[in-house]
């Protein structure tokens, strides 16, 4: 009887196990295998042997190093900035009454807009063409500064556009989460603090912030993971040849190794994606450890 019911349990689990097995576990194992297969030939589907050469190659590939650098810059700049600005905007939204809903809608718009469409808008803002300087450059000119080519120009300008764009794209979701977190803090806490003569600053640091800290950490962790996986946004602005633009990311590098102009190297792609996995995993664990220490209830 007991055996039968446990069989039944497995039967219920079967669809999920099959699905996850085929589409998650098997490919994962395959990726690990690929990453250790040396001299893999895509045409003949054969390889010489197993070893660490793929990792060595990837780690010495200047394109990969550039991609790692770009990715880290994007992560380090956009995650704290977007979370911080989102928090400020949410606090503002939470404290106004008239037009609150209108503002909420406006701030949420980028979330429902297609990445490539947004990219197009950014092109118009920043790109210099034969016909126009781009809106931002016009603005700079009117302030007496010289034009900067944000799309094909110096590295810092491109990184600036990239970060600006990323922050702009990820912000709506963060604002949404934070406004609801702020609205969820019971009014009684604020009333209690008010009766006790707590200053606004202290209310924010001692009550509001700890109360919404679980949500902030959630946003930081998912923000880190999301930023490490950045790719589509870069394509939207700089086009598909990211290596040439010097704006490639780790995921972009993986894609290029598989399907790009230099494609056909699943071993290198696998090695690169495993390296990315290791980085994301480490950062997430560190994040969780910190949050466990600071999110106290």
């Amino acid at each position: 009887m007991k055996k039968l019911s446990s069989l039944k349990g497995w039967l219920y689990l079967l669809p999920a196990i099959l699905f996850l097995g085929f589409f998650m576990v098997y490919p994962l194992i395959d990726v690990v295998m690929y990453s250790f297969e040396e001299g893999y030939n895509f045409a003949s589907q054969s390889h010489f042997g197993y070893g660490l050469y793929n990792f060595k190659y990837v780690l010495h590939d200047p394109y990969f190093l550039q991609a790692v650098k770009n990715t880290f810059i994007i992560v380090i700049i956009t995650v704290p900035l977007s979370t911080g600005i989102a928090l400020l905007i949410s606090l503002g939204l939470n404290s106004i009454k008239p037009l609150k809903e209108l503002y909420q809608t406006v701030y949420f718009l980028p979330y429902v807009t297609n990445t490539l469409a947004v990219g197009l808008v950014f092109m118009i803002l920043f790109k210099k063409t034969a016909y126009s300087e781009g809106l931002v450059n016009l603005l700079l000119n009117s302030l007496g500064m010289s034009s900067v080519d944000f799309i094909d120009g110096p590295y810092w300008a491109k990184i600036f556009v990239m970060c600006f764009y990323t922050i702009w794209v990820v912000m709506p979701f963060k604002i949404l989460i934070l406004t609801s977190a702020l609205a969820g803090v019971k009014k009684d806490y604020y009333n209690a603090a008010r009766v006790d003569g707590t200053s606004k600053c202290r209310i924010f640091y001692k009550i509001t912030l700890p109360m919404i800290s679980p949500m902030i950490f959630y946003l930081v962790i998912t923000g880190f993971i999301g930023a490490f996986k950045a790719y589509a946004d870069e394509v939207a602005i700089f086009g598909t040849n990211l290596n040439a633009a010097g704006m490639n990311t780790i995921v972009g590098y993986v894609y290029d190794m598989l399907y790009g102009n230099s494609g056909g190297y699943p071993s290198y792609a696998s090695a690169a994606s495993l390296i990315l996995f290791a980085i994301v995993f480490t950062i997430t664990v560190i994040n969780l450890l910190i949050s466990k220490k600071n999110v106290q209830y």
Binding site: A192, V195, D196, P210, Q296
Partner: protein
């Protein structure tokens, strides 16, 4: 500290924007709370009790009228300068702080020459913690305490700044029945020991009756009666107060006075000297009935419920305006209720008459 409310009124704009008229939450409230007393603000939900409390605390601004603490007019003072301690229904303890941190939170807000050292704050916290008997839980978080303990922490936090007035908003409603009994004694004791003028809001009459020095009964934002608990029960000024206080509730009837006799239905049940002829509301407390074979009031017997010390006789009468008449008598006086009729005579001072239009009490001479 004496608390005086003068013509206090609070209006809120109507939620339904089509109705221009404001909602009056508190209407021309006028009373004086003597120094060092425990006052129960009692009324059905939505009668403006909490609004009144919030105005005293300063969380809400009155539309008109003044509030005095002693001789100070505090009406325009913001909450933090009034020196009130406020305890919320759900305690509002900061979940991420320990009990000690919660208690010293108000002290850390002090600025200027009132600023205290950490040692002084801790000493003060220990002192109030001892008063409310939570000394052993100082390093726990609120979530690790029972409801009653949390309530005491909330009281400690309200007391730590030695407030001029302590305000409690439905302090017991989140506790289970047994803890409620315990905690209300506790509140009484703490109030006695500190001597701080305390106002607490409740919709539970038993709570208000048992621990208050004075009860303020409210209805629809208006003051109905303010007096000692026993007086409010024995001598209600109007029909509402009579109906609101007492468990089991008072039995109500439509009666009529003819030539100084009170008629319920067709039978005269009581002499009411000095009352003019006309229809009246009649309230008879459950303990006002005396089983009496020759009594003037005949009722149809529905049930006899034995509860040990007391027996409650449930019956019906044509003139009643309640679902059933409930009379409470000592069990040893229980009549041999075999038939389906039961007769009572009435204790005159347990029979209350009220005007049909104003609902005000009509007094008669009790011989």
């Amino acid at each position: 500290m004496k608390v005086i409310l003068k013509n206090l009124t609070k209006k809120f704009p109507n939620r339904n924007k089509k109705i221009k008229e404001d909602v009056v939450a508190v209407d021309n409230f006028d009373f004086e709370i003597p120094d060092g007393k425990l006052i129960g603000l009692l009324g059905p939900s939505g009668c403006g009790k909490s609004t009144t409390l919030n105005m005293i605390s300063g969380l809400e601004k009155p539309t008109s009228g003044r509030i005095f603490f002693g001789d100070d007019d505090v009406t325009d003072l913001p909450a933090e300068h009034r020196g009130v301690g406020l305890v919320f229904q759900n305690y509002a303890l900061y979940p991420h702080l320990t009990v000690r941190q919660n208690i010293i939170f108000p002290l850390q807000n002090l600025k200027g020459d009132k600023k205290m050292t950490m040692d002084a704050m801790n000493a003060k916290a220990d002192e109030v913690a001892k008063l409310v008997q939570i000394g052993e839980y100082m390093d726990r978080r609120p979530s690790e305490l029972s409801g009653g303990q949390q309530q005491r922490v909330a009281i400690a936090r309200a007391l730590v700044k030695t407030p001029r007035v302590l305000l409690l908003d439905e302090p017991l409603s989140n506790l289970d029945a047994r803890l409620r009994l315990q905690t209300r004694e506790e509140i009484k004791r703490i109030q006695r020991e500190t001597g701080v003028t305390t106002i607490f809001v409740t919709h539970d009459q038993e709570e208000a009756m048992s621990i208050s020095d004075m009860i303020v009964v409210m209805k629809d934002g208006r003051l109905m009666q303010m007096d000692k608990p026993q007086t409010v029960y024995d001598d209600p000024k109007n029909f509402f107060v009579a109906k609101f206080l007492g468990t089991p509730a008072i039995n109500t009837f439509d009666g009529e006075v003819k030539s100084e006799k009170l008629y319920l239905g067709d039978s005269a049940v009581l002499n009411v000297p000095g009352v003019k002829d006309g229809p009246v509301y009649v309230g008879i407390r459950p303990e006002g009935f005396i089983p009496d074979e020759n009594g003037p009031m005949e009722c149809d017997l529905s049930a006899v419920e034995v509860m040990g010390r007391d027996t409650s006789i449930v019956s019906t009468h044509p003139a009643m305006t309640v679902v059933a008449i409930r009379s409470i008598i000592l069990s040893e006086n229980r009549p041999d209720a075999t038939g389906n009729k039961v007769r009572f005579s009435l204790k005159p001072y347990k029979v209350l008459l009220f005007d049909k239009t104003t609902e005000e009490r009509i007094y008669f001479d009790i011989k």
